[in-house]
Amino acid sequence: MKYLGIETQKPKIAIFDFTSCEGCQLQLVNKEETLADFLAAVEVVNFREASSARSDDYDIAFIEGAVSRNDEVKRLTAIREKAKVLVALGTCACFGGVNKLKNEFEMKDINRDVYGKNPKETLWVRSVGEVVKVDLEIPGCPVSKNEVEAIVRHVILGAPFTFPVYPVCVECKQRFTSCLMEKGQLCLGPITRGGCNAPCSVGGTGCWGCRGPATDPNYDSFFAVTADRGFSKEDVAERMGFYGTFQEVQNR
């Protein structure tokens, strides 16, 4: 990639997956109109899902998924030692994601339910940051390829990236959507960080908070509004617990 006629640096990147659906990795090979440019701007040295070429010499390690087994702890620790920069890619890596719903159960019971007399090793689900030091978190279920591209562009050009500070509501309104709360639906848009372009509220499902809290969200006001509209505390807490993104406040 060239900028103003000057060849930019080409970081060596590696992509690793842990407990997840691998949908965030898939986003990296989507947005086809710019995919060739994206792949030319970086040097992909390790991307098991897409390539047989494997190298342990990388600058940036992207980690997809949560951690839920001992071998994952070991693998993640080894990657942390090799990587100059470690990026948590997606909600599972940043917060644990839907996997954290597993933590509501006794591991013994769920193992019996699913595997019967042949239990498999499993741990309480942790986010990547609960196991190793994380340099950058890119949230989203799945991540937005637009945002990933912007971040990689900033890294290459050596400019700091800032996530939007505003909530999803801003982008939802920019797309001329009628407020789902006005239609009687629960929506976490007012407290969730923007940057996704509001596909869920535009699609009529409401926001489930996959990107985590916006900067300095007004929780008190949000709880007052949801209570005023007849949503029970339990319903609001269940929604806020879905991705494990509002752990500090969901039981307030």
Partner: protein
Amino acid sequence: MKINLNVDVHHLTRIEGHGNIKVKVENGEVKDARWDVIETPRFFEAMLKNKHYTTAGILAARICGICSISHSLCSITATERAFGVAVPLPAEKLRLLAKHGETLQSHVLHVLFLAAPDFFAEPSVIPLIEKRPDVVAIALRLKGFANRLCDAVAGRTTHPVTFQVGGVTAAPTKKDLLAYKAEMEGLLADLTAVAELVATLEIPDFVRETEFVSLKGDTDYPFIGVKVGSSDGVFKDSMDYLSITNEYVDPENTSKWTKLSRESYAVGALARVNNNYALLRPEAVKVAEALKLSPVCHNPFMNNVAQVVESVHAAYEIIRLIDELLESDLGHLMGDVTPKAGEGVGAVEAPRGILFHHYDYDDTGRIIKANCVVPTTQNNANIHLDIRSFARQFAVKGMTDARMELLCSMLVRSYDPCLSCSVH
């Protein structure tokens, strides 16, 4: 001289998830030949417990990042059958339109990004950007179109948002639909080029007889349905899926294994083509004939070919469905939903094969018990037995470790396995 071989692939690449291949041949005798899934188990069936029906589909989609549209549709279908919901016909057509988009993007991704590099002796699609820009350009156009179509209809390709119990919550405008139709028509030539390319690939000549399980259509090639059939003559309602899949736990694997009439069975594009060949569109049959795919085909490598045939079928069905939707009223897309206690089973043909979701609801619309049987779970025992049979047939003079490793890897990749799905 008797042959010795040692293949040990840890975390096979260019597939979704973590699996290992082992082949050990001593003095011409196969001592060990295995396919094992070691992906971290995820326990979605436990996580679905006590979830409200409005949440179940959103959670179930997260089982798989590649076929989340299938998981979402299967989940809401299971719930709709449990509650006895009537979904408006245009909503069903929109769902099927997104389903075809998913089939197209998933098959193109597999055939051209994941399987093709083996045939060009490259580690990935990245070197092909320079070596075969023509092929990569076609792949990007088809995949890009299919993803944008899914974005428009389902709200998002990965983890759809418009699919809810009762129908769909948003639809593209007719103007947009018309534009997608025109674009699909313009891309038909690309699909012909893909078929011509695949015709030049050397498909390994390996046959192991097995049973093929898929939905069975009456008048249409089936993607969302009720009747299940096998190439060994088993016919059942999807409610009886437990007696079709017969899941059991293998000590070496985190994915369960399944069997029906034989030791194992296969699902996926090849199973669907084998079981529903007569229902393929004539344009797809023409491609099947040109690529020498006729039922019942027992060469697992031909699953790549079956995916090309289905891509052509899906493309023409996208055009037909858009024509029908342009004539439909898109104002009423949600049916009435009243939760009630009871059970429902959804059966959907995901790109990688038949998928079942089974939910038991209480009268408040919360799940008491959930069970999901996913495509790759049903393929894993079959892949394992294929590897064993392949090692026996191909451990002959001239075979090397490197060649055996490549062929076994290609064999597993042919199934387009999705291992995080299989350990849901």
